[in-house]
Each structure stands twice: as C-alpha cells, then as structure tokens.
C-alpha cells in the first residue's frame, strides 16, 4: 500500500503537532502563588523570607526547573492585612488557578486564605516565618493547610521556652522572677498565657505579664512596670521588634536581667547587632554560625541574583523553596491541586539541616516536627554562639534543656 503525498504530508504534520504539543506539555510551568507581607508594619519579619524563596526558585529555574518545567510564581503583597490577603487568595486561586499558595504573613491573614482554599481545593503552605495554627493537625485538621514555617504553634514553643528560662536561671544560680511579654495580637497573647501556665506548674514566680501594642512609639512605661515588679528574667513570644523595643527600654532604665525571646527570621542579625550578652534567641532552625554547607550555597545565589539580604535572613525562605521543589517533583507532570495535596500528605524532605529534622507531613498531621535550641552573643569571642543542645519538643511535654555553656 502506498501513501499518497497529501496523506504523508498530513501525517508528518500531525506527528509534528503531537510532538510539539507533548514538548509544550513537558515545558508547562508549575503555577504557584505567594501571598506575603512584602510591605507594611510586619514586612521586616516576612520580606526577607519572600526574598529567600524567590532566590531559591530563580536559581532552580535557571538550572532547568522541576522535571524540566519551570516554576512560575506569582508574588502578591498582602501588607499583613486580612482584607488584602482575601483579595490575593481570590486572585491566585480563582483567577490564576494556581496549584498551591504559599502564605508568608501574619496569622491574622490566615482565615480569609483558608476560606478561599476550602472553596477552591487549593493547598496552602505556611512558609518562612509563618506560625502554625491549631488546625494543622487532628482533631481540628484542615486537610489543605500545611505548616512549613519556622514557628511552631505558641503551645509547643512554651514547652521549650519556659524550661529554657529555668535552665539558664539555674545555671546562673539566679533567683527566678519572671515577667512575660507579648505583642498585643491574639496569637502572641495566647503564647504567653500558655507560658504562664507552664511556669506556674514549674513553680516559677511570674511577677508580671503584659501585651505591648505593636504600634507603640515608646514602651518605657511598660518597662518601668516590669522593673517595679522585681523581674529578674523576661521572656517573650512575640515579633522580634516587640522584644527589642522592650529590652532597650529595660536596659536604658538600668535593668540587668536576662531576656529570652523565641526568635524571628532576623534573630541572628539582631543578636549580632545588639551585642547584648544576656539576650537569648531560641529558634527552631540553624543560625549561620553552624556553618552548614547550604549557607555558602545561599550566599553564592544571593550574590548572583543581587539579593540585598544577609544569608541568615534568607535561609528560611530557601528552606521553603526546597519543600516546594520536592513537592512538585513528586507531584510530577500533569500535577493538579488534588494530586499535590496527596503528595504533600506524604512529603518527607530534609532542608539541608536548616531545620534540624525532616519536614514530614502525613494525612493526620501537617505540622513540622519541632526541635529548638538557643543562641546568645558571646562577648569573649565576639560572635553568636549556641548555648544549648538541640531538643525535640512536643506539645504538652516539657522539654529537657541541656545548657552546654
């Protein structure tokens, strides 16, 4: 049987079309949305992480992307405002039909994004410095919310931070009179309420507890109250700006006690710049003083892409990028929202030890396993140093803190 020229031509054209379509399908980008506080009062805590994930994805795309497909990220600024977050969620999930949304903002922006996620079936990854809400694990589980941010829920953090305060006071043989400081936002107040309960269980004398409005120009009056209460130690679960403002006001009034703060994305830089030997940051991720190979990698990428943010502030965004890459790689070609949710439910990714444990999610638990440590500014060496071993912490179980120096 012979094939006439028109048929042959048509067949070749059809084959080429199929080949072209297949190649186009392979090159289709994974479309992802990021909604975060790039400007506004909360931006210092979130923008560096947005830059971190942006840098990671840029270098990943330049290397060929994931399974040969680029990641096309739409970045939207929510200014840490719930109304802006709601509008971003609508744009990303309804108009752009993204595969997933990375949320890098204040907890007050979560609710509208979660609502849109439930309506559209879009998974939401809390990334960077995001705090993990209660509905990331059973029994209040939201099947679309995944915690990949640096901050455990305020409950879990308390089970580390209060024993840490006690361990430092014991080591220094100080009388422990504790004051608790929060920013006047619900999740931060919840954090210190929980710490107060834990402290009382441990027999610690809690002498003062206060919530500072985030927009305070001066907190000297509140600091005077803490000093009047006789506090020898202060601990806070709040944005770092609240802690720094309070610590400064206390120091200017001559208070010489210890200040133990949870952490923030720029916690290491804060220690380095303030050089206060009694300010402790207790993060759930490694500072650059750990000299992990990944930090050199981040530094190289930051230089290459002219990112004007120090490595220690980029690392959480970088780790977020690693989670996203792994999820998309596993989801594979033809990845859909449903398939991605399924993939995320079995995700197990090491973030080059930026987080000491693997980020591991299951159908029942979307929280990130939490390990904590503590760092201070060491005047002798003129550098930041770690003062405790890493400790795995679970909600409801008091952590064992081992102070190493």
């Amino acid at each position: 049987m012979t094939i006439g020229r028109p048929v042959a031509t048509a067949s070749i054209a059809a084959c080429l079309a199929v080949a072209f379509a297949a190649s186009a399908a392979a090159q289709t980008a994974f479309k992802i949305g990021i909604s975060g506080a790039a400007t506004g009062p909360a931006s210092p805590s979130y923008l560096p992480h947005i830059e971190g994930i942006r840098t990671y994805i840029e270098q990943l795309n330049d290397k060929g992307g994931v399974n040969g497909a680029k990641i096309d990220v739409i970045y939207l600024d929510d200014k840490a405002a719930p109304s802006e977050a709601a509008s971003n969620a609508k744009k990303l999930m309804d108009d752009e039909n993204v595969l997933a949304v990375g949320l890098m903002s204040l907890s007050s922006t979560y609710a509208p994004v979660f609502q849109a996620a439930s309506r559209t079936g879009t998974p939401v990854l809390l990334l960077g410095q995001a705090v993990c809400p209660a509905n990331a694990s059973t029994p209040q589980m939201n099947p679309l919310v995944f915690c990949g941010g640096s901050t455990s829920d305020p409950m879990t953090a308390g089970y580390w931070q209060v024993p840490l305060v006690k361990a430092i006071a014991d080591k220094n043989r100080d009388e422990l009179k504790l004051a608790l400081v929060a920013a006047d936002i619900p999740i931060s107040r919840q954090g210190i309420d929980n710490m107060e309960q834990i402290a009382r269980k441990l027999g610690i004398d809690v002498v003062d507890k206060q919530a500072i409005p985030p927009a305070s120009a001066d907190v000297s009056g509140a600091a005077a109250r803490i000093i009047a209460s006789g506090a020898t130690y202060v601990t806070s679960w709040a944005p770092v700006t609240t802690a720094v403002q309070m610590l400064g006001a206390l120091r200017r009034q001559g208070w010489q006690g210890w200040y133990i703060h949870n952490h923030s994305g720029d916690a290491e830089a804060t220690l380095r710049q303030l050089k206060d030997p009694k300010l402790v940051m207790s993060p759930e991720y490694a500072f650059t003083v750990e000299k992990l190979p990944v930090f050199s990698e981040i530094e190289t990428a930051a230089k290459k892409y002219a990112v004007n943010v120090p490595v220690d502030s980029l690392s959480l965004g970088w780790a977020s990028g690693m989670m996203l890459e792994e999820a998309l790689k596993k989801c594979g070609t033809g990845c859909t929202k449903e398939k991605l949710v399924e993939t995320l439910n079995g995700l197990n990714v090491m973030t080059a030890r930026i987080y000491p444990d693997a980020v591991k999610w299951s159908k029942e638990d979307h929280t990130r396993p939490a390990s904590f440590t503590a760092y201070v500014w060491d005047q002798k060496s003129g550098a930041v140093k770690r003062i405790t071993d890493w400790a795995r912490v679970r909600n409801g179980e008091l952590a064992t803190v081992k102070v190493i120096d």
Partner: protein, 290 residues
C-alpha cells in the same frame, strides 16, 4: 521620680515630632501626614552615611539632616507647590500619597530588613547616674538636649530673624507677603526643609534608640496628638502637648496596662478638643480656617 524622668524623655521626643507638624502647618496650612515617612527617610540617609563613612557619626548626622532638609525642599517644589491655590484638603491628600511613595521607595532602596544603627556607635543605651539615684542613658540625654535647644532656637528664629518674620508673613497672608516682595515659594520651601530636618532628627534618635525599618513610619504619628492638643500653630503648644501626651502614656502603661497607653493620648486629645478645639495655645482663627 523615675517616672517623671521617663515622662520628660518621652515628652522631649514627642516635642521634636510635634514641632515638625507645627512648622509645616504654620507655613503652608497643610497637615503633613507624611511626617513619619520623612522621619524614616532621614534616618536611612543617616544610616547610609554611617555605613559609607565607616561610622563617622558627626558627618552622618550632618549629611543625614542635610539630606532630610533637601528632601523637604524637593517635596515642596515637586508636590505641594503645584497644588498652591487648591483647597488645603488637596495638599493633605497629597501628603498621604507622598507617604506611601516614600515608604515603598525606602523598602526598594534599603530593603525591609530591620537595622540597628547604634551598633556603629555603641553604649548609647547605657544609663549614666545623674543625681539622687536617677540615671539617664546617653541617647535619652541627647534627645532632651536637642528638644530643649529646638524649643529655644525655633521661636527665636520665627520671632526675630528676618527669615522667620517672612515665614510668619507668608503664613498670615501669602498674597500680601508676595506684594511685599517676599518670595513665598522660597519661604515655604525653607519651612518644609526645616520641618523635614526636624523629622530627620527624630528619625535618627528613634533609630539609635530602638531600631530602623520602613515600618516605623507610625512613630511619626506620635507627634500628631501633641501638636493638636497644643494648637497646630503654636511651637510652645507642641511642647506642652508633648508633656501631656507622654504623661498619659507612661502613667497608663505603668499603672493600668500597656494596651491603654496607646489610646491614652487620644483620650486626652478628645477631652482637649472638647474643651478647647483650637488647642491649648492655638488661635481660634486657625480652627476656623481648618
């Protein structure tokens, strides 16, 4: 006694901010809602010079403040001058837009990262014993000194110096002033330079005392209540208003709760407006103009 010192320090800072609002209002009748952003910009200019000069503080202060003053001139010439002749509300709206633009610009130039310029200077927060067991930190002492100097120099400048007389003349009646061959735009530009310079000073102090980031523009609003309580056209009023606001804040935080501290000045403001809407030292005529 310790609380009185705290109130005095806080009042000095608020007075620095309040004076900026008053200077612009007196000259151009515009309520400058970009004052906080101008404050932040001035502080960043200071930080940038500090970094570039390897920690040369005097040079950083001079260049930072000169940059702030120059920015004031640019703002007047570029934003406010073209709006001359329009209702005052247009100018106020323009300052809101200006604030948003400056905030974005600051983030683009210096990133959103929090900075602590004090690391280049050090020991500014160390308390120094003064008398009777009281101590004041170096930075607080500087704030008090500069606020006191401003309260002495600015009224003299406005009352006695030729340029101050021109400023008052333009503020009173711009048309008449121009007929008397006073260059009203030059005088207004100078008023803006002076006010943004004051904003820059406040920004430098806040950044040295607490921190620096594009988000601290809200601190500039802390000068708004003192200026309103004292009277928008009165330098003395801004100082008295600052003391009232600082006392309300510190006492509320110390004896009630820090959450109330933020609202306390505005409660005082409401009462003050109810009793004397034109401010403690303001002129009734100004209220009618508003």
């Amino acid at each position: 006694m310790g609380l009185l010192v705290i109130i005095f320090i806080q009042a000095s800072f608020y007075a620095l901010l309040g004076l900026g609002y008053v200077l612009i209002y007196r000259a151009t009748r515009v309520l400058n809602l970009a004052h906080g952003d101008l404050m932040v910009f001035g502080a960043y200019l200071f930080l940038q010079t500090l970094i570039e000069t390897g920690g040369n503080v005097p040079l950083a202060i001079v260049l930072g403040l000169a940059g702030s003053a120059l920015l004031g001139v640019i703002v007047y010439e570029g934003v406010l001058r073209p709006l001359a002749g329009y209702p005052v509300a247009v100018g106020v709206l323009a300052t809101i837009a200006l604030g948003i633009v400056l905030r974005s610009l600051t983030t683009v130039i210096w990133s959103g990262q929090t900075r602590y310029p004090a690391e280049y200077i050090g020991e500014l927060g160390r308390p120094i014993p003064v008398f009777a067991g009281l101590s004041v930190s170096v930075i607080d002492a500087l704030i008090i000194l500069v606020a006191a100097a401003s309260m002495i120099v600015l009224p003299i400048l406005l009352q006695r110096a030729a340029v101050g007389v021109s400023m008052r003349a333009v503020a009173e009646n711009a048309l008449l002033a121009s007929q008397r061959r006073i260059n009203i735009h030059r005088v207004n530009a100078l008023s803006w330079a002076l006010a943004t310079g004051m904003a820059g000073i406040a920004g430098v102090f806040f950044s040295l005392k607490v921190r620096l980031g594009p988000d601290i523009w809200y601190v500039g609003l802390a000068g708004f209540a003192p200026a309103l309580i004292g009277g928008m056209d009165s330098l003395r009023g801004a100082a008295v208003g600052a003391v009232i606001v600082a006392a309300a804040e510190v006492l509320a935080a110390r004896f009630i709760a820090p959450q109330i501290a933020l609202a306390a000045p505005f409660l005082v403001l409401l009462v003050a407006l109810w009793i004397r809407p034109w401010g403690l030292y303001g002129s009734r005529e100004e209220l009618e103009r508003i």
